[in-house]
């Protein structure tokens, strides 16, 4: 949720519909109340509410539909435009939402995205974020929140959404430990698990430290672009293998909801062996998914 113009449609387009940031400027502004749904992680439905335009309409709508909208909410993602000139009003709407959440879905996880951070001078970003976070925490009591500074122009958007997806997987610890086992048996440097429609990183296991801390967001982005290029040729992306002098990377479908990426630097391990291991692991992770993914 979030005020009109805060960036919800842009985010959704990038994360769920393979837009690149540049294209979001073409999106029409949302007038009145817009609701759209996207399905991901199998059975999870992301319900996007654009609370824009005329306030009276908004208020009436919410008063009438409140219970309906806020029932069975697993997670609330609220987007704040960091450049907003009406912080007080934004907060008022936000607190309205929280009240409704408290009444209808008190166990929902709450994420606040302080968005369009790219518009803030780099050296001021941390200070402004901390200030907003503090304010939000105070206003959210007794509910606990998680906040991120985001922008569609850099990797922060992927990072925030990865954390959100990560938090939605029950028993993610189990998944992580299984991924760790998989990496150890394969003798892989690193194994990453991606959500299948968004390519967001769900989980990863590293046996060798890598210096690039933004690699996950970058890979998400590259793989999405590649998948998009494939579909332009009416081909469905399924898997790929990249081999260089000092490493090999395997990217393959793992389960109904995930892709796996395996990074191997030991060149004595044959490709076929790694591929076979991915094949064997598939059934195991499929089972894990059936028992643990959100319904």
């Amino acid at each position: 949720m979030g005020k009109s113009g805060s960036g919800k449609t842009s985010m959704r387009s990038i994360i769920f519909h393979n837009y690149v940031a540049r294209d979001t400027r073409r999106l029409g502004a949302t007038i009145d109340v817009e609701n759209s749904r996207v399905r991901f992680l199998g059975n999870l439905v992301l319900n996007l509410w654009d609370c824009g335009g005329q306030e009276t309409f908004m208020e009436n709508y919410f008063a009438a539909q409140r219970d309906h909208i806020f029932r069975n909410v697993e997670v609330l993602i609220y987007v704040f435009d960091v450049e907003s000139r009406e912080i007080e009003k934004d907060m008022h709407y936000y607190q309205d939402c929280l009240e409704a959440i408290l009444a209808n879905s008190k166990d929902a996880k709450i994420f606040c995205l302080i968005h369009k951070m790219d518009l803030v001078q780099e050296e001021l970003r941390t200070a402004i974020f901390d200030e907003r976070l503090h304010e939000l925490e105070k206003r959210s009591e007794p509910l606990k929140i998680t906040a991120f500074a985001t922008s569609i122009w850099d990797e922060t958007l992927y990072k925030a959404w990865s954390s959100i997806v990560h938090s939605l997987i029950p028993n993610v610890r189990e998944l992580e430990s299984q991924l760790q086992n998989f990496a150890t048996i394969c003798e892989a440097d690193e194994v990453m698990l991606f959500e299948r429609t968004t390519f967001l990183v769900i989980s990863h296991s590293s046996r060798i430290e890598c210096s690039d801390i933004h690699r996950f967001e970058k890979i998400s982005n590259y793989m999405k672009q590649f998948k998009l290029s494939c579909s332009k040729f009416q081909a469905q992306f399924k898997s790929m293998e990249i081999r260089q002098a000092n490493f090999a990377a395997f990217f393959d479908v793992l389960t109904a909801n995930t892709y796996v990426m395996v990074i191997m630097s030991d060149s004595s391990v044959e490709s076929a062996a790694t591929q076979m291991n991915i094949n064997v692991a598939r059934k195991h992770f499929e089972k894990l998914e059936v028992t643990h993914m959100p319904r």
């Binding site: 003798e187 044959e270 076929a272 062996a273 291991n277 064997v280 692991a281 059934k283």
Partner: protein, 128 residues
């Protein structure tokens, strides 16, 4: 799952006494693991061995009805080759000419028996 290092250790134990190379291939003929002095040679052995195997198997199907191909011994000018199956994979040993066919077959059989059970278990997981 397949522990690449562990498989290599086992194959290494067989690569002695005149055996030049030991290879484990998947059903498409790609090496899963191998021991050989030369990487290049090993890949050539893999290609030839899997090709010979699949040719015999295909052509023999009609003749032999339900009886599957179990073992191939090939005597060449510069050495002897043994090929057999481990679950749905191929095991191939390449030996110098002085290694007698009998001992080569015995060695290959022993290795295949050793690998059969774990690989059988793994294949049940691969089938989709």
């Amino acid at each position: 799952m397949l522990k690449p290092k562990a498989i290599s250790q086992v194959l290494k134990q067989a690569t002695t006494g005149g055996v030049k190379a030991t290879l484990l291939l998947n059903s498409e003929g790609s090496p899963l693991a191998f021991i050989s002095d030369s990487d290049r040679d090993a890949r050539v052995y893999a290609a030839i061995a899997s090709n010979i195997w699949s040719t015999f198997e295909k052509n023999g199907k009609n003749l032999m009805r339900d009886d599957n191909l179990k073992f191939l011994l090939v005597e060449c000018e510069k050495g002897n080759v043994a090929i057999t199956t481990v679950s749905n994979m191929l095991l191939c040993l390449v030996a110098k000419p002085e290694v007698e066919l009998g001992i080569l077959k015995a060695k290959t059989d022993a290795l295949a028996r050793h690998l059969e059970e774990p690989f059988q278990r793994m294949t049940t997981y691969t089938q989709t």
